[in-house]
């Protein structure tokens, strides 16, 4: 039994598929950037990225470079170099879109993820050739790398859900909110009825959320063999289709890539042509298996380099800067007049004052107000690296989604957090927050 659905067949189809998705991404990103302008929400941390907005000549020139690189990648001409060029150009286009729109266009990341894995496999294959070792089935190792990275995408999504929200993610509230906000009130079709059913049946919403989480958490099952690849791949596709039906969010790139990598297309095509399918992937005779352990280390180093090179506002945009990660679906307990060092009515900065205090489990919502403006800053004790624009060591701090530019309430948020940190003194802020919650 082959370990890959593609057996010993050439991986030209996979290369071409990846190249087409890369070119598709470059087109969509260049088109969006051509019309993008710097707005109130734009992230100004990297000015040259913002400068790409509204410059069609420049962005289409970059897209042309990506097309050329994708073409070379598809033809397996200098695949490592062409893949890296395509990733670099897409990285610039995606970074510019992220900075301009203050939103992470994650569909593009999926392609980047797959190409990254593919290039890791290409490097291993290149190293083997360089040492004069046999390569039983050219393209099999790049395929394995891409599949591994794609499985990591789903696993990462599950890990994010569990670390950010935990079991609460299974609450029907998340899916209900998404569907209700996006469904058509006038549509009486069968599809609309399905959306309404999910939105009004908490048990169904919970079951769908749970199924998605399990499927993502066990994504590495997809890597075990062709049968499980096809089975789990079908689950991935069903998941994306269901998300599209319920929310209208089209995850085209993952859909296309999972479709491409999940099924034994060469075998199916051979059957259609009534030809003998390709053979097995032969196990390498002198495989440098132990050296492969360097792969996760190398990828981790690349991740670390990316972390160092890109400023935090850009890395965390929409991921956590203003993500409602700290928001709890728990109903508010009785409003508080005081929390730790802060009392309702206390002035903060720029005319903002503390307007109300709400406790939701461990989350404290500090409602701040100024004239007719009001929003909350949610603070949660954090044991790991703290997240959110107002985060301090030991506390996540997110602000409510609002149309107000951050600059308007930035000083107030920082003042609020500074007051909490001062009052915590030498104690970790997380401990102080928990103590104040307990003492309410």
């Amino acid at each position: 039994m082959s370990v890959s659905p593609w057996g010993a067949s050439p991986r030209r189809g996979l290369r071409v598929g990846l190249a087409l998705v890369l070119a598709f991404d470059a087109t969509i990103a260049a088109n969006a950037l051509s019309h993008a302008e710097v707005g109130e929400d734009s992230i100004r941390a990297v000015p040259w990225l913002l400068a790409l907005g509204g410059r069609p000549l420049v962005v289409w020139a970059l897209a042309a470079v990506a097309y050329l690189a994708a073409f070379m990648f598809a033809r397996a001409r200098r695949p490592i170099a062409s893949g890296l060029v395509a990733l670099a150009v897409l990285g610039a286009l995606v970074g510019a879109l992220t900075a301009l729109q203050a939103m992470v266009p994650r569909n593009f990341y999926v392609t980047g993820t797959a190409v990254t894995g593919w290039l890791v496999g290409e490097l291993v294959e290149w190293a083997r050739r360089r040492r004069g070792e046999p390569v039983a089935s050219p393209g099999a190792l790049p395929e394995a790398g891409a599949a591994g990275a794609l499985a990591a995408m789903y696993l990462s999504a599950a890990v994010s859900k569990l670390t950010l929200t935990g079991a609460e993610w299974l609450s029907p509230v998340t899916l209900e909110s998404l569907v209700l906000t996006q469904h058509s009130l006038s549509d009486q079709s069968l599809l609309a009825s399905y959306m309404r059913l999910v939105a009004t049946t908490p048990s169904l919403a919970t079951a769908l959320a749970g199924a998605a989480l399990v499927m993502q958490l066990f994504a590495p099952v997809w890597l075990i063999g062709p049968r499980l690849r096809a089975a789990w791949g079908t689950l991935f596709l069903a998941f994306h289709l269901n998300v599209f039906l319920l929310t209208g969010i089209p995850y085209l790139e993952p859909f296309a890539l999972v479709l491409l990598f999940s099924y034994p297309w060469p075998k199916l095509a051979a059957r259609l042509r009534r030809q003998a399918p390709g053979g097995e992937v032969e196990a390498p005779e002198r495989g440098p298996a132990l050296a492969l352990v360097a792969i996760p280390l190398a990828l981790a180093l690349l991740g670390l380099a990316a972390r160092t090179a890109v400023p935090e506002p850009l890395r965390f945009v929409s991921g956590s800067l203003n993500a409602p990660a700290a928001r709890s679906s728990r109903p508010a307990e009785a409003p508080l007049a005081r929390f730790g060092p802060l009392a309702v009515g206390e002035p903060l900065a720029d005319g903002w004052r503390l307007d109300a205090l709400e406790l939701r489990g461990e989350e404290v919502r500090f409602w701040i107000a100024r004239q007719d403006q009001r929003l909350y800053i949610a603070v949660v004790p954090s044991v790991e690296r703290a997240r959110g624009v107002f985060a301090r060591d030991g506390a996540d701090a997110f602000h409510e989604q609002t149309k107000l530019p951050l600059e308007q309430f930035d000083a107030a948020g920082k003042r609020l957090m500074a007051r909490l940190a001062e009052a915590a003194g030498s104690r970790p802020l997380s401990d102080a927050l928990r103590a104040w919650v307990a003492a309410r």
Binding site: T116, T165, L180
Partner: protein
Amino acid sequence: MTLARGLRRLGEYRALALLCCAGYLVAGRLAHNVYPFSVYDMYAAGAESSASQLAARDRNGKLDDVSAYEAWSCPTAVRPNPTACEAFPFYYIPYHDAEAAQWIERHAGGEGGEPVEVVHHIWNIGASGELTTTDCVVARCTARRR
């Protein structure tokens, strides 16, 4: 060498796939969101305890998309303004509401309309998923059903 034996047992293809999986997972955690690395945390933040849409409500209280109507006539330009509602804060998608307002603007004018209110229709979602609704009137207009 247990590690070497384990890798050999997996075979090079599976070992490479699994190690790439692990490596990308760690790289994503370190970089957060820097192309091509990501933590894929979309919708991971979980529960919004409300939902809303800018909707059209006829004199019988029936709710529809604003695009179910044309020939809109409103006293002033319709501007979504969730923060002005008593029920605020609630979850809304600004560009969705803006698109609805644009529809009204682009399909303004005409005769023979019936009274229609433009409302923020808000669903409050309880911890167990139960729904209660409330409307916040944005504008009182006339419009004709398409």
